[in-house]
Amino acid sequence: MSIGLNHFLVISTVLFSLGIFGIVTRKNAVMVLMGIELILNAANINFVAFARFGGFGLKGQLMALFVIILAAAEAAIALAIVLNIYKTFNNVNVDEIDTLKD
């Protein structure tokens, strides 16, 4: 059986789900960020797959490049925010960083 578009899409879906799972279930904020990276990479695989098999051509590859750059930038900022959160709350447990009254 030759590897087609669907195989890549399945992988990216699995990655996406794992990423969602990671965001939703991790207590540590850095872990949540890792989840976000996973989601982004899943989207990247999607783009590249469509570029090879879906008729996107080079547009897909280009898009993936942009996404990687953006992911890096976003990770930097996100970590900066996490640092600030740690400064404020002394804690990076996402369950405990709300100031909403119960």
């Binding site: 939703v24 949540v32 909403l100």
Partner: protein, 697 residues
């Protein structure tokens, strides 16, 4: 002397005494001689009344001078006030003015030294004003107003010595009993106004002759007439409202002379003469019956009374009964004639009694008098002359008038078969002669029974004796007719006083008052038009002629009998009155106790009214107040319920709303966790749902 000048004179006569009253009331305290002004005014009134009477009766003898002003004008309702000067009015006015003037002079002597002297004269002025109003009025409304005014003047004057409880009680009794009659009169006036839309006499008579009847029936015309007559019953002290007049003797004697003998009580008779054209045969029969009863009962009471004024009071009621009876049986002219003559000799009798009372130091019991003839000759002579007139002895005016009434009752009996009136009339004539001469003999003749008082008695001064002389002089026959046996021949009855034309529809008149159209219409019309006199019918004139001499004869015989009996009992002492009284003790008691009328009224009407008022008071405090309290209680209960409802239900609802909001908020608050992860879950979840929803693309 034009007609308008006569009207002006009449208005002056009306308002001068009122001015005297006002002056005395407002300035009496400071200026003690206001009574001189009042007396002066009254003398002027008398002069004016004399002028008015002279001019009217000489130059305008057949005219009816009327002057009226519009008072109330509301669309359909027109009320006029006005003055009517006709022969009746000017004669009556002259009598009122004369007697009022004489009483003013008499009171100068009688009321001398009284602490409220000026106020007495003020009240006399008020009374004269009110009486003049009644005499000159041309409509029922003014008549009623002055009727009440006269009632008030009477109340004030009877209760003049109000420190005495009997006097204040008597004045209240007079006013209240009068009021009972006035209620009937007012109802009659209302019915008249309802039917005829006017109060003026002439309009009413015109409409009635055109056929307008109250509620379109003769029965209601009779009822109206009887209701109007009730006023006269009250004012003229007829049965059953006669009880106030004897008690009214508590007032000063000149007041009794003026009001309760000559003028006010005559107002009732005057009123009936004014209303005569609208009285049906049935009304007249009722009037005659009441008059006959009122003539008989007091005559029997006067036989046993021992107070000189009470005898005269009952005599007045009896004579008024004569006049009312005369009107009821159609002897209109003689009723008015008797009114005039009675005014003079009764006033003379009362003033004479006042003279006696003052001489005897306010002793009124005739059992303590006697032999005063020698001490008070003028009083005696005038009193005797007046008594002769009252008893109906020939050559006096009283004889003429009473004889006329008796002839009328005789004719009435022969025409209608009701002989009772003639019988009563003649019987009362005999009784009158008897009790009057009893009075004269016991007071003036015989031996003095109270020696001490007798010593001090002396003749009254000129101011008191002069009125007596004047009034007794007017009690002889020649002022009224040159023929002492035939009153019709004189000017009084033939040219001055005429029978009025009755306007009641034919079927409701007495048989003898029906004008027979077929028989002699032309002659009757022309004759009556000339003399403004109604020819009742041929049969009536004949009956009167036929009755004249028999009635005269019988009345002379009966008067003589009465006088003889009086002399036999009291002068010659042939018969013993005390033994006779013992032998007919029940009758004597009935007479002496005034037929127990006062006791009957007290027991039935007064007690009944008090019981009813007690019942009403109970009703008011228990039931009405109970209802009010009940409503208050119900309101309180209702308010408690509403309050509970408000606090429980309404507040509960509001609270529930709040709870609901809170609950919903509690539920939805869960979504806001502040955790990013939760939001992510939600976003993904919604995305999945959306994907499934829009699977198509």
């Amino acid at each position: 002397m034009s007609e308008s000048l006569l009207i002006k004179i009449a208005i002056t006569i009306l308002f001068l005494p009122l001015t005297g009253f006002a002056v005395s009331i407002f300035f009496g305290k400071k200026f003690k001689y206001t009574y001189v002004i009042e007396t002066l005014f009254i003398s002027v009134v008398f002069i004016l009344a004399s002028v008015l009477a002279f001019v009217k009766l000489s130059y305008y003898v057949n005219a009816n001078i009327v002057s009226e002003i519009q008072w109330i004008n509301l669309g359909k309702v027109h009320v006029e006030l006005g003055i009517m000067i006709d022969n009746l009015a000017v004669i009556m006015m002259w009598v009122v003015a004369l007697i009022s003037t004489l009483v003013h002079f008499f009171s100068l002597g009688y009321m001398k030294g009284d602490i409220r002297f000026t106020r007495y004269y003020a009240y006399l002025g008020l009374f004269t004003f009110s009486m003049t109003g009644i005499v000159f009025t041309h409509n029922l409304l003014m008549m009623y107003m002055f009727w009440e005014l006269v009632g008030i003047s009477s109340y004030l004057l009877i209760g003049f010595w109000f420190e005495k409880k009997s006097a204040s009680d008597a004045s209240k009794k007079a006013f209240l009993v009068n009021r009972v009659g006035d209620t009937g009169m007012f109802l009659g006036i209302l019915m008249t106004f309802l039917t005829y839309n006017t109060f003026t006499f002439q309009s009413i008579f015109n409409q009635l002759s055109a056929g307008v009847l109250p509620f379109h029936s003769g029965f209601w015309l009779t009822v109206t007439g009887v209701l109007l007559f009730m006023g006269a019953v009250g004012k003229s002290a007829q049965f059953p409202l006669h009880v106030w007049l004897p008690d009214a003797m508590e007032g000063p004697t000149p007041v009794s002379a003026l009001i309760h003998a000559a003028t006010m009580v005559a107002a009732g008779v005057y009123f009936v003469t004014r209303m005569f054209p609208m009285l049906t045969g049935n009304t007249l029969l009722i009037i005659a019956s009441i008059g006959a009863i009122s003539a008989f009962i007091p005559a029997t009471i006067a036989l046993t009374q021992n107070d000189i004024k009470k005898v005269l009071a009952y005599s007045t009621v009896s004579q008024l009964g004569y006049m009312i009876m005369a009107l009821g049986i159609g002897a209109y002219k003689f009723a008015f004639f008797h009114l005039i003559t009675h005014a003079f000799f009764k006033a003379c009798l009362f003033l004479g009694s006042g003279s006696v009372i003052m001489a005897m130091h306010h002793e009124q019991d005739i059992r303590k008098m006697g032999g005063l003839r020698k001490k008070m000759p003028v009083t005696y002579a005038t009193f005797l002359l007046a008594t002769l007139a009252l008893s109906g002895v020939p050559l006096t005016s009283g004889f003429l008038s009473k004889d006329g009434i008796l002839a009328g009752s005789y004719a009435f009996g022969s025409l209608t078969g009701y002989w009772i009136f003639a019988i009563v009339g003649f019987l009362v004539a005999a009784l009158t002669a008897f009790y009057m001469f009893r009075l004269v003999i016991l007071t003036f003749h015989g031996e003095p029974r109270d020696q001490h008082k007798y010593e001090h008695a002396k003749e009254s001064p000129f101011v008191m004796a002069m009125p007596l002389v004047v009034l007794s002089a007017l009690s002889v026959f020649f002022w009224y007719t040159p023929n002492p046996a035939n009153p019709d021949a004189g000017w009084f009855l033939s040219s001055w006083v005429k029978n009025p034309v009755t306007v009641v529809p034919q079927e409701y008149r007495y048989n003898f008052m029906k004008t027979d159209e077929a028989a002699a219409p032309a002659a009757a019309e022309s004759h009556s038009a000339e003399h403004h006199e109604v020819i009742f019918s041929e049969s009536y004139t004949e009956a009167m002629h036929a009755a004249h001499y028999p009635a005269m004869g019988i009345s002379i015989v009966l008067a003589a009998l009465g006088i003889l009996l009086a002399f036999a009992f009291y002068y010659w002492k042939k018969l013993d009155p005390d033994k006779l009284a013992e032998s007919i003790k029940p009758l004597y008691n009935l007479s002496y106790n005034k037929w127990y009328f006062d006791e009957f009224y007290n027991g039935v009407i007064v007690a009944g009214t008090l019981a009813f008022s007690r019942f009403l008071a109970w009703f008011d405090s228990t039931i009405v107040d109970g209802l009010v309290n009940l409503s208050a209680t119900v309101t309180r209960a209702l308010s408690r319920f509403v309050g509970k409802f408000d606090s429980v239900v309404v507040d509960g609802l509001v609270n529930f709303m709040a709870y609901l909001s809170g609950f919903i908020g509690l539920i939805f608050r869960r979504f806001q966790t502040g955790k990013v992860q939760t939001y992510v879950v939600l976003a993904v979840f919604s995305l999945v749902i959306l994907l499934f929803l829009f699977k198509s693309f």
